[in-house]
Subunit: 287 residues, 4 copies
């Protein structure tokens, strides 16, 4: 039709090749939302489990995702730097992740909040894509989110202990914590409430990592990061190999863990996360 | 933390000021999805009503949307050219629309498909934003989608009549329709199946328009399009006026209609769609 | 070759269709450069004439430019909103303008500074492209630059009069002018130096406008701005008409004027600047 | 002024951090231009020397450039991935390079073409920026240009030998070369014209590399590429070190060589090109 010229106003938005794509989504107005559904403070295990279930579904549906990391109302999904999903079109990638995540969040809601039906306005998420050129940049991104998790959780744990167990109000608690270091907060928790922060649940302290699981590898055997950084292009695979990889990925179990992803160990033991070559089968996928 | 530098890798993505923003979302793989849930062919009224319900919820939640148009598995949401939602950041706008729409689509599913619970993989939508500088460009965009609706629906109606009532198979139907004009299809429908295409439901022929409803205006009294095009900046409103407009918008009823949006009449009678000034109250919002 | 994949890292950068493209170039480090070649202060007529000669050459070489405006070490070149030069690729357009302008600036240097040969580091210019959706936005852009010219020139004229004729130093002059309004500066010029600012050369007060000249039109006969804003697409011309327009443009004289471009009159008398339809021939081009 | 809002229409265009920036410029319409000034075919040494002189001036003026490569009417300038010139704004970087190059090209013209004054239309260059995430991508980019140089020069050398010495016309020469491999062209040159292609001037066969020169390093001592790829951020230098590096760069001689840049040797011997740490002084800069 004579109206078709308007299609030309669409601007291309392909993300730079050979860079790691991170899509971070974040709950819109979850301060209000968590109040409406009376999430327990500072952490509501149902809310976190629901986030994780939705993220696991996203990772399962999109094999191009190599790892995801979640904390609070946010989740980051990582695509390998060779990924060519949607020809790397940013809008397509971001909207697909956000939409799929939202769909599962709503769908699984009643599983985790069986007694509290959702009502409008419904929860929703914003999303954005960011490119990282090197493995170190990607690792630093992941560390940034997990360090944030640690800082916020230590603060929130102390803050709410002071209120819920210490009986002081929010303003007083805030004043008391102003300028304190991590050690100070640990000390308050221990001396006032007999809480050893180290014994807090890992899901609160570390957040959640979602990935395909294979047999762990002896660290130190090779330097995957350096190899991957030096890779310039998508490795040309035989159709046969591509098929095998695809099957291997489909068979692998998508797990939710609460591990330290800042230190090297996590990455050294799981070279497939950076190399994009599936590891050795571990166990059959349980469904 | 020392990791925070990674935040600088985010690229700004503000959409050009003083342009109309259209966000179009589209069901991902709905060919397969409509088969899985045995949508009736060519149009499944439950599926369309569900799309419309989700779109109405989106328009209701986001007062910055002035009009939306839907057909098949897609919906286009229009933001006025003066809109400053999320400082016009593309990712934020697109992801919010896609997420909110998906949330309502899943949430309302059981209302429209009471006997068919959803199961993974769940439906999801991609989304993109496009900028249009002039009213005519925007009108042409809307016309493009509605002309597409007409062409596809006339084709599909004839195609499925041939199969469902004419008893021929898809290949034969396709061959028969190849190269035919609109008039030919109308003729086939009428002569073979006694179907007057004009009497088909408007929702199939015209698609669906969602907007805030006010009193219709006598066309020809003023040229809103020209005025709006010549507007260079957001009109500075008094706080009082902004407050009044906000209330007026909140009170207005969001309606779903199946009208011709290609001709001038629709726009001439509803100057508020282009001017962004709420019209005169029509009736109290029914909830 | 196996290296060709690197071409895919180029990102498309087409400017939004149906918007006015303004390319503004600006002398790099001209504060230092004007000192090196002892430009007279506040305005050096040789420097301005050289800028204008280079701009005129650019407009002459690129018929897609409809108007250009220059002041100080900067020049803005305007492409009509229907322009499809280089498929509207931003880098191509900006680099071509910057390169062509620089070439003529260096080439004509010796004409305007016959006794002062250039030596490294040579003068150079940065450049950028900006899109404006409506005529009013474009007019406001032009007004912005000319208003800037006026403000700076009135300040500089007074500042340097105080120093050169008033015998005070830069610091004192600055202090004296701090917080003064236009009227105050006019008053200082008049009372202290017997200078009537209105009688200053138009090239200093108004800057320079470069465009193809045709017969002036009686203002008020039609509203070009409204018409142009409502235009949605490039008007499809017959090949014949396109050829005629091209010839008309080639024949037209490119003039350098120092007129008010903030008021309507300038634009109303010269509808071809906004309509992109060449006006009626005025005189033969003098070369 | 009330017009200042138009500044907000400028779109940010920062290039992704931690990626190598390549700015490639290319002569506009040099097919025609080389005819106008009767460049000798296939290579005009004056034209190439002029390109090289302009490139050397650009590299000298912009210490952020680590290496440049030129062939025919094009030049590629490489900025280290940690470069923060103009906050990595693409338009600023591209326009500055293009403008500076053009200025020197015009300025030095009379040195290389003393008997042929330039006349309008003057030569000009387009330019673009491309980002490369890894050293291998950058190396492949450089190899791409040099491989292109080789392919074109072998073809052109044979083509023009056939015409100039073989006395056949362009059409016949083209037909004769269609489908030939490198070996075939070498053979034609040798058997028909007694030309050993290997003995052709390196500037024609290899193009030109421009860089700051330091003492060569024994290859194999360390893996600069891997180190640089793994670098995530600009190394924080002491002010003292930054100052020392700056001086070292200023003192270094900018050389023009005609070396193989596809093989590792060139890069292994000159680690400063990838590391951005100045090498050891070689000799005093001659000016
Ligand atoms: N009580 C409770 N609140 C939570 C939990 N997880 C997240 N939240 C709340 C705490 C924060 O107020 C909010 C997340 O902070 P954000 O910075 O994302 O702010 P918010 O979502 O309100 O605004 P936004 O739309 O993202 O700008 O969600 C939880 O497990 N329990
Ligand atoms: N039976 C039936 N199918 C429908 C209805 N509405 C939409 N569909 C189907 C028809 C098309 O196959 C599909 C929409 O076409 P698209 O071009 O969006 O393709 P699809 O969603 O399969 O792929 P995509 O992921 O958008 O590229 O949805 C309906 O009411 N009834
Ligand atoms: N004396 C004198 N100076 C002039 C004349 N025209 C321009 N200039 C100088 C005055 C300003 O210092 C400078 C233009 O200001 P800009 O804001 O463009 O600064 P500049 O070019 O130094 O730095 P930039 O590289 O543009 O950021 O050029 C003139 O006719 N006479
Ligand atoms: N005779 C001669 N021609 C040369 C020499 N160096 C470059 N050229 C010519 C050969 C090509 O026609 C032209 C470079 O090819 P391009 O692909 O850049 O084409 P051109 O500049 O004509 O068009 P463009 O504006 O870049 O699209 O310059 C030379 O040394 N001698
Ligand atoms: O969401 P973030 O972490 O990027 O940071 P923010 O402060 O929420 O900012 P925005 O969502 O507006 O980018
Ligand atoms: O979805 P559209 O209408 O823009 O067109 P398409 O053919 O589906 O293409 P894509 O979704 O890949 O942009
Ligand atoms: O050059 P302008 O007028 O856009 O403004 P500026 O202050 O020089 O800023 P920049 O050249 O860095 O955009
Ligand atoms: O100049 P190149 O090598 O990028 O390639 P081209 O064929 O000249 O294309 P364009 O200059 O239009 O990008
Ligand atoms: Mg946020
Ligand atoms: Mg949030
Ligand atoms: Mg959050
Ligand atoms: Mg699509
Ligand atoms: Mg679809
Ligand atoms: Mg569709
Ligand atoms: Mg500037
Ligand atoms: Mg300047
Ligand atoms: Mg300036
Ligand atoms: Mg080119
Ligand atoms: Mg060229
Ligand atoms: Mg070339």
């Amino acid at each position: 039709s004579k109206f078709e010229y308007v299609k030309n106003f669409e601007q291309p938005d392909k993300l730079l090749p050979n860079t790691w794509i991170v899509v971070r989504i974040d709950g819109r107005g979850f301060t209000k939302f968590s109040t409406k559904y009376t999430f327990s403070k500072p952490n509501d295990i149902r809310a976190l489990d629901l986030m994780n279930a939705a993220a696991k579904a996203v990772v399962t549906e999109l094999p191009e995702i190599t790892i995801a990391y979640g904390v609070s109302d946010e989740y980051s999904f990582v695509f390998h730097k060779t990924c060519s999903l949607f020809e790397r079109r940013s809008s397509k990638i971001v909207s697909t992740i956000v939409s799929t995540f939202t769909a599962y969040y709503i769908h699984y809601w009643s599983t985790y909040f069986p007694d509290t039906p959702l009502s409008p306005p419904l929860p929703s998420f914003d999303g954005r894509a960011v490119c990282y050129p090197s493995v170190q940049n990607l690792r630093d991104y992941m560390s940034w989110r997990q360090a944030d998790c640690h800082i916020n959780n230590l603060y929130n744990t102390t803050f709410w202990a002071l209120i819920q167990q210490g009986g002081i109000d929010a303003l007083e608690a805030e004043k008391m914590l102003k300028g304190t270091l991590a050690a100070d907060k640990n000390e308050i928790l221990w001396s006032k409430f007999n809480i050893n922060y180290n014994n807090e649940p890992a899901i609160y302290k570390k957040g959640s990592v979602v990935f395909r699981d294979y047999e762990l590898v002896q660290p130190g055997t090779h330097n995957t990061a350096a190899e991957v950084d030096q890779q310039a292009e998508q490795v040309q695979q035989s159709k046969n190999q591509a098929e095998k990889d695809k099957k291997s990925r489909a068979k692998a179990q998508v797990v939710i863990e609460h591990l330290d992803i800042i230190k090297d160990e996590f990455w050294d033991q799981r070279p497939w996360l950076l190399s994009n070559k599936p590891g050795k089968g571990k166990a059959l996928k349980q469904t």
